[in-house]
């Protein structure tokens, strides 16, 4: 149990990433593909926070506990993840805007049909 728990969070992150990639590659709908990309982003959050976790630790926020009274987890990876989430959402919005533009120009949401149009 504990040997598995040592690597399980990393494996979950890897699994989520591969699942997202599979969805991205087999998607027949560009909006669905954008959703799959946000699933891929999720894997990076899980990986970063898993690296920074410490058993028995608590959040490095000292508004309600005394500094030094309890062990704390790593704040650096948390700061990276935090900004990543908000920026990720705006990037999703940018991709959705591109999708709307593609639909306007080519009238289709299917990436395969788009390729036929160009060729």
């Amino acid at each position: 149990m504990s040997a598995l728990m040592q690597v399980l969070p990393y494996l979950v992150a890897a699994y989520v990433f591969l699942t997202g990639c599979y969805g991205l590659a087999t998607s027949r709908n560009l909006i669905h593909a954008v959703g799959c990309l946000s699933v891929c982003q999720v894997s990076t959050y899980i990986l970063l926070l898993a690296v920074g976790y410490r058993s028995g630790g608590t959040a490095p926020v000292f508004s309600d506990i005394k500094p030094g009274s309890r062990p704390v987890v790593d704040p650096v990876v948390q700061a990276l993840t935090l900004t990543d989430i908000v920026v990720g959402a705006t990037v999703t919005a940018l991709l959705l805007a591109l999708v709307l533009q593609i639909v306007k120009r080519h009238g289709t949401l299917d990436p395969d049909e788009l390729r036929e149009l160009r060729g």
Partner: protein, 246 residues
């Protein structure tokens, strides 16, 4: 390339990537380990500068230059959306008919909008003390405003949302972040260095030197960026029609 061949290629590549990722996972330091050298040093630095929330200290003090990068990505993404979603020459606007929403839902929306705005401001203002900060609070405040569309009417939202003002405020808050950084240079230290203001008393709203100011700038930027973003999507989804109309 046929669809079948592409799937085979994906399977082979995915299997290889999965094997490499699994090998990498097994080599990482175990989950929940005790050794976090960067974390320990970041906590010490944050406490030395009287910032109770270490994450805010990392974001707006120790790695403030990184946050400037994040802000510019945010700004660029919103700019891209505005350009992509603007009204084209062959499109026209059509006023949506006023919506009739069930009365309890409308009342709930009108009641919760102020509560949610206050919550967003609370999350921004307490960023350097308790969990929260500009990034989270900004999104909350901006999303809360759109309850007016969801629970009432698009026109109600348009009335309280002067878009031009929000676009200007967005740009101004990015500038404010830069100016605060340059103030550090003028005070003869370094760009974005937190040596400008006194650190204050630990665990109070004004503690942490420039952290609360940078936090507020980010909060305003994120809030107005999300409002502008959603406004463009809403215009496309609700008002803008194809063809030149009449």
């Amino acid at each position: 390339m046929s669809r079948r061949l592409r799937l085979w290629l994906l399977a082979v590549g995915g299997a290889g990537l999965a094997a490499l990722l699994a090998a990498a996972c097994l080599d990482l330091p175990g989950f929940g380990g005790r050794a976090h050298p960067y974390g320990t040093r970041a906590v010490r630095a944050s406490l030395a500068r009287h910032t109770a929330n270490t994450v805010a200290s990392v974001n707006f003090d120790q790695r403030a230059y990184d946050t400037l990068g994040e802000m510019s990505i945010l700004f660029a993404a919103v700019l891209g959306c505005v350009v992509l979603l603007r009204q084209a020459r062959d499109e026209h606007r059509e006023r949506p008919r006023p919506a009739e929403v069930a009365r309890p839902v409308r009342r709930y929306a009108l009641l919760v909008v102020p509560v949610a705005l206050v919550c967003g401001l609370y999350v921004i203002a307490h960023g350097q003390l308790s969990p929260g900060g500009g990034f989270q609070g900004g999104v909350v405040a901006a999303t809360a405003l759109h309850l007016l569309y969801l629970g009432a009417d698009y026109r109600a939202l348009e009335r309280v949302r002067p878009l031009g003002t929000f676009e200007t405020v967005d740009a101004l808050s990015v500038c404010a972040y830069l100016v605060l950084g340059l103030a550090g240079v003028l005070a003869a230290t370094a760009f974005l260095a937190n040596t400008l203001l006194p650190y204050g008393t630990f665990d109070t709203l004004s503690s942490g030197g420039t952290v609360p100011l940078l936090n507020a700038a980010v909060g305003i930027e994120v809030a107005s960026a999300v409002v502008v973003l959603l406004a463009n999507f809403l215009d496309q989804a609700v008002e803008i029609e194809e063809g030149n109309g009449g």
